[in-house]
Amino acid sequence: MTTLYRLLKYAAILLWSAFVLAPFMWALSTSFKTSNGVTGGPTYLPWLQYEPSLEGWRSLFRADGSGIDIAGPYGSSVAVTLCASAISLVLGTLAAYGLSRFTYRAGFIRNADITFFFISQRIMPPVVLAIPFFLMLQAFGLLDSEVGLIVVYIALLMPIAVWVMVDFFNNIPRELDETAMLDGCNPFETFWRVILPNSKPGLVVAGLFCIIFGWSDFFFAFTLTFTNTQLLPVAVVALNSSVTPWWSLSAAALISVAPLIAVALVLERYLSRGNLAGAIK
């Protein structure tokens, strides 16, 4: 490898790193500003270009009119995302195992069609389902509630679990299932005692994807909740008006995306260990 190539390689990596970090750095810097740091034009360095203050961060924990209470929406988001992801993972994994191992036939519908049906749910833009979901939840008294959102999210996240797990199961040799059955396990025991213990990488990936896509939803939380329940993205976007100071906005945004950094660390671990590939193919 020539030195020039090496230089270019690291330059490219650093360039992209700068691009990735840019919005974070900007938000971080802005979160410590007050009006002086913002209205005169963009400023970057604390103390040198503006006077830093904790006002932005403090406003996150004030439940009165001058700030927002971030703890409530945070908790709601965590609860809803984890619940919906867990349920989607369970139902999706079961369905995926079935689609991988057995042959289904209903008229002219076969396995591939059923899998396609699951995955094609992702094609539906949220906006299409918003109004009907609104009416549906209203009829069941589930509007503006965490349970209602969980129900909706299950429909969104199950396809992801199915997509990841079907591929994963397809990569486990059938002969392992057969050996388990010959050793006295019925199909459920086979699944529970033999296949599942060997599916950790797939489950981790599927679970993480569910959490990522669930945590990030804005639209359904936006249209289906109002006052009782508020999820994090909605709380933050509500600040996106011209009234809210940028520093509160930036602080709120940063605190919302922080937890998923931990997810990134876990995912990278699995990536490097080579477990991911079998799960995603």
Partner: protein, 292 residues
């Protein structure tokens, strides 16, 4: 218990729950599309195919479809190329490899709409760093969010920032799972890096590339939140995507009947388009004779 009975216990819980949750919305949408439900006349009346004929002549809708095609193709292509480049760069031994890999994974973990909120402050013409950077590079300050073409470019930039990370993840996972032997064979045959990439690496990544492209295409087609947070479809309708347009018609103007018909036509078009693209990609990228 036989296998034939057991197999339904695996499939049905998930399938039935899914169908239960989306069946009503789907059927409702179909019914409503044949009604003229709006603010003035709430309720399910029957106006037959009027909404659909109106939609055929709705230029704003069809323009948004064209715009979506452009936006999606541009961002997904960039995401794939960049993602692949990054994956290749961080594949073999690099200093601080783990740090960079984690860093490059972060964007896709963030909430898109929240990042868009930050980007909005970033691209602010006078108060945000975007123009500072532009001037640093020798350009004049730009109207990032208020000029039609630039607004589209800004959205593409944000999308690429967010989702290149996803391509990076899948492609790096694919690269890490490739067997060593073909590369050893290529080295023995004297193939240089470019040749090795074109003839060995890239073809072996075909299955995962197709999966990644398809998933991204499906997700990108729903583009709405970024537009909502950054440009509100503007200036005018310059950055309006079909999802956003349906949102306006349905949840802002409450023309629910019309929005329903828009939704259905959109759904049909997207399903057909994506299925076709899936088949084409499979045939183009997989070696002859391999099953999709």
């Amino acid at each position: 218990m036989t296998i034939h009975r057991a197999k339904w216990f695996f499939l049905l819980p998930g399938l039935l729950v899914l169908v239960a949750i989306i069946l009503f919305p789907l059927l409702f949408t179909i019914r409503v599309s044949f009604s003229g439900w709006d603010v003035a006349q709430p309720g399910l009346d029957w106006i037959a195919g009027f909404n659909y004929t109106r939609q055929l002549q709705d230029l704003r809708f069809w323009e948004s479809m064209a715009r979506l095609a452009l936006l999606t193709l541009a961002s997904v292509t960039l995401e794939y190329v960049l993602g692949l480049a990054l994956a290749l760069l961080l594949w073999r031994e690099v200093k601080a490899q783990r740090f960079f890999r984690v860093l490059f994974l972060v964007p896709m973990m963030t909430t898109p709409v929240i990042m868009s909120v930050i980007w909005r402050t970033f691209f602010h013409e006078s108060l945000g760093p975007a123009n500072d950077i532009a001037q640093l590079l020798g350009f004049a300050p730009q109207a990032w969010l208020t000029d039609g073409n630039l607004a589209t470019a800004s959205i593409v930039i944000v999308e690429v920032w967010q989702w290149t990370s996803f391509m990076f993840l899948l492609l790096l996972a694919g690269l890490l799972s490739l067997p060593r032997e073909p590369f050893l064979a290529a080295a023995i045959d004297g193939a240089g890096p470019v040749r090795t990439f074109l003839r060995v690496t890239f073809p072996m990544l075909a299955p995962i590339s197709i999966g990644a492209l398809l998933i991204r295409l499906i997700e990108a087609s729903k583009l709405m939140e970024t537009v909502y947070a950054m440009t509100s479809g503007g200036p005018g309708t310059a950055t309006e995507t079909p999802s956003y347009y349906i949102f306006i018609r349905g949840l802002r103007e409450f023309q629910i009947g019309y929005a329903a018909s828009l939704s259905l036509i959109y759904l049909v078009i997207m399903t057909v388009a994506l299925t076709v693209i899936a088949k084409v990609l499979a045939r183009a990228m997989l070696p002859k004779g391999a099953a999709a």
